[in-house]
């Protein structure tokens, strides 16, 4: 693998030929293996059942109605088997869709804006995180959720820095990831996290993966 990561077996579900080809090129370049390509919900289902990929990259909008076939197929797949890892991406992100997607748990689920594929490094990192069972939530969605005016005084009681950390937690990043993003040490992040959970009156979660759900639940997703 190019950057020392694991090779992933990926299924891509995207009806636009241009975009699909671009994604295949991107992933193959990095050393991943695209085991199947799908252009609608049914093909996606077949591909995932048949190939059991490490992760599926799914566009929300696909034929026949071009509204939310991809989202619904992803939800159905996870209903059948919560171990399926899916990264859903969309031209527009909406809290309602994120809510539906996360309804059955946050492990191995991602929801990103299509624009994020332009940040190649970040996109691949998100993909790896979802494949490893983590959660990825687009910062757009998170910023909508974390806006102080939506909440009780607890969130506004957080300092600006703590709110940044909260947002990054809600995006699904691990402590190490947050530390990298904010250019501080992991130890500092751990302190922030403890403080945040205390202020929000939540029990501390030792597991990076599980706390995402707690944070998101707190933020009304």
């Amino acid at each position: 693998m190019r950057d020392g990561g694991e090779q992933l077996r990926v299924v891509i579900a995207e009806d636009s030929v241009i975009l699909r080809d671009g994604l295949v090129r991107l992933l193959t370049d990095r050393g991943h293996l695209v085991v199947a390509e799908a252009t609608n919900g049914d093909e996606l289902r077949e591909a995932v059942m048949g190939h059991r990929p490490d992760v599926a990259v799914v566009d929300v909008r696909m034929p026949p109605t071009h509204t939310d076939e991809g989202l619904r197929a992803a939800i159905a797949l996870r209903d059948d088997d919560p171990r399926v890892r899916i990264l859903v991406f969309s031209q527009y992100v909406e809290t309602r869709s994120a809510r539906l997607l996360l309804a059955h748990g946050a492990e191995g689920v991602g929801y990103l804006l299509k624009d994020r594929v332009a940040e190649v490094g970040e996109f691949l990192e998100a993909l790896a995180r979802v494949a490893a069972g983590g959660t990825v939530l687009d910062p757009e969605v998170v910023s909508q959720l974390v806006r102080a005016d939506h909440h009780s005084s607890s969130v506004s009681a957080l300092t600006a820095r703590e709110r940044e950390v909260l947002a990054l937690m809600a995006e699904g990043r691990s402590n190490a990831g947050i530390a990298r993003a904010l250019f501080v040490s992991e130890g500092a992040i751990e302190k922030y996290v403890t403080a945040i959970f205390a202020k929000l009156d939540l029990p501390p979660y030792p597991d990076d993966h599980r706390r995402v759900l707690a944070v998101l639940r707190y933020l009304d997703i």
């Binding site: 241009i18 975009l19 671009g22 370049d29 071009h66 031209q91 299509k114 190649v120």
Partner: protein, 404 residues
């Protein structure tokens, strides 16, 4: 003579009094109660209820006339009120259809009575007299002072009965004709209400049309330029990463740059076409200029004949332009012809667009494209006419007013 029509009319006449009588009496009861109590709100509501009852009975009467007299009448359009009891009362009190139905019932009652008496009377007497010989010895009848019990007198009665029976259908028909006229006059749609109904339908269609158009634009944008630009951004991102990792510039980079350049160019083309599909800039210079451009860009040779100097309103220009474009595309796709003639003419009030091709003909309104075209034209009260016999040629004429 004693066929189906006679029996239907007789049935109509016989059901007149009970139906109309019951209906009118109920309505009058409601109206009267409403009036006496009108100082209170309840009175008004009762009055409105009476009117609404009349309106519903109107429907029943139309059905009765349709079933038994073969009178086909469209129900008049009446405005559906917004929800809420007070609104219902208010709109019913102001509803012309309800008032006309009430008037109908009032006028109808005496007519029903008369019809019923005539029909019942003639048939009953006719039948009785015709069968006189059978029961004359039981109940001998007297007429003008004479007892009709001798054979010639009995025969006279029978003859009278026969005459009555022969006359009955005609008399009933005459009376029923009066009723039928009343139904047509008071229970049918008026020009104004029809106009309102048509306008509401067209407004609905226009709104849906624009909604569908917007959705189409969004989808075209999503599938075309947005997808391309996303891929473009992705490819450029990869190029940067590759450079940062010290990749060989000439190999991978060259390939990436070529694809990106291609994507950017095609995105431009798609955007340009999309914009033109929304509003062709040439239309700002007038319909004549836009049609000229259409003609020069067309794959089929086009003879253009524009003999109209005054520009109509922009909305009309846009509609005519897109109609011409669609008809031209149809001619290219389906007609198999070799030339198309487009002509635009008009007078003070309206414009006429005529598109003719020398192809195989057989075009009908049934195709989705032409139907949509007609819908759009009708939203401005225009008209579309197609003449397209098998073997051709096809001529489509569109007439619209100068101002939408």
């Amino acid at each position: 003579m004693f066929g189906l029509r006679t029996w239907s009319e007789l049935l109509y006449a016989m059901t007149d009094l009970p139906v109309v009588g019951a209906a009118t009496l109920s309505m009058l009861l409601a109206l009267a109660l409403g009036l006496t109590l009108s100082v209170t709100g309840v009175g008004l509501a009762l009055f409105a209820a009476g009117l609404a009852l009349a309106r519903e009975i109107g429907g029943l009467e139309r059905a009765r006339a349709r079933r038994l007299l073969g009178l086909h009448l469209d129900p008049p359009a009446w405005p559906r009120p917004a929800p809420g009891f007070l609104r219902w009362v208010g709109s019913t009190l102001a509803d012309g259809v309800a008032w006309r139905a009430a008037l109908y019932l009032l006028l109808r009652l005496p007519l029903a009575f008369m019809t019923w008496v005539l029909a019942a009377g003639l048939w009953a007497v006719g039948l009785a007299d015709l069968t006189y010989p059978a029961w004359s010895h039981l109940y001998p009848q007297s007429w003008a002072g004479m007892t009709m019990d001798t054979p010639p007198r009995v025969l006279e009665v029978t003859a009278a009965g026969a005459l009555a029976l022969l006359a009955a259908p005609w008399v009933v028909r005459g009376a029923v004709r009066l009723s039928r006229a009343l139904v047509g006059f008071l229970l049918g749609p008026t020009a104004l209400s029809e106009r309102v109904r048509t306008l509401e339908e067209r407004r609905g269609r226009a709104v849906e049309d624009s909604e569908a158009a917007l959705r189409r634009i969004e989808r075209d944008l999503h599938d075309g330029p947005q997808a391309r630009l996303t891929t473009l951004a992705m490819d450029i991102g990869r190029a940067r990463e590759a450079l940062a990792e010290g990749a060989d510039p000439s190999g991978l980079l060259d390939q990436l740059l070529e694809i990106s350049h291609q994507n950017a160019r095609e995105a431009l083309v798609e955007l340009r076409n999309l914009a033109r599909g929304i509003h062709p800039p040439i239309l700002d210079s007038g319909l004549a200029a836009a049609l000229e451009t259409l003609a020069t860009q067309s794959a089929l040779p086009v003879d253009l004949d524009v003999s109209d100097a005054d520009r109509p309103s922009p909305a009309i220009e846009t509609i005519l332009y897109f109609c011409a474009a669609e008809l031209l595309a149809n001619a290219l796709k389906h007609s198999g012809g070799r030339r198309v003639r487009i002509s635009l003419s008009g007078d003070d009030t309206s414009l006429l667009l005529r598109v003719e091709d020398d192809g195989v003909g057989g075009a009908t309104m049934a195709g989705g494209g032409l139907c949509g075209l007609e819908d759009r034209v009708r939203t401005v009260d225009g008209r579309v006419a197609i003449r397209s016999p098998r073997g051709g040629p096809t001529v489509v004429t569109i007439e619209v007013p100068r101002h939408a």
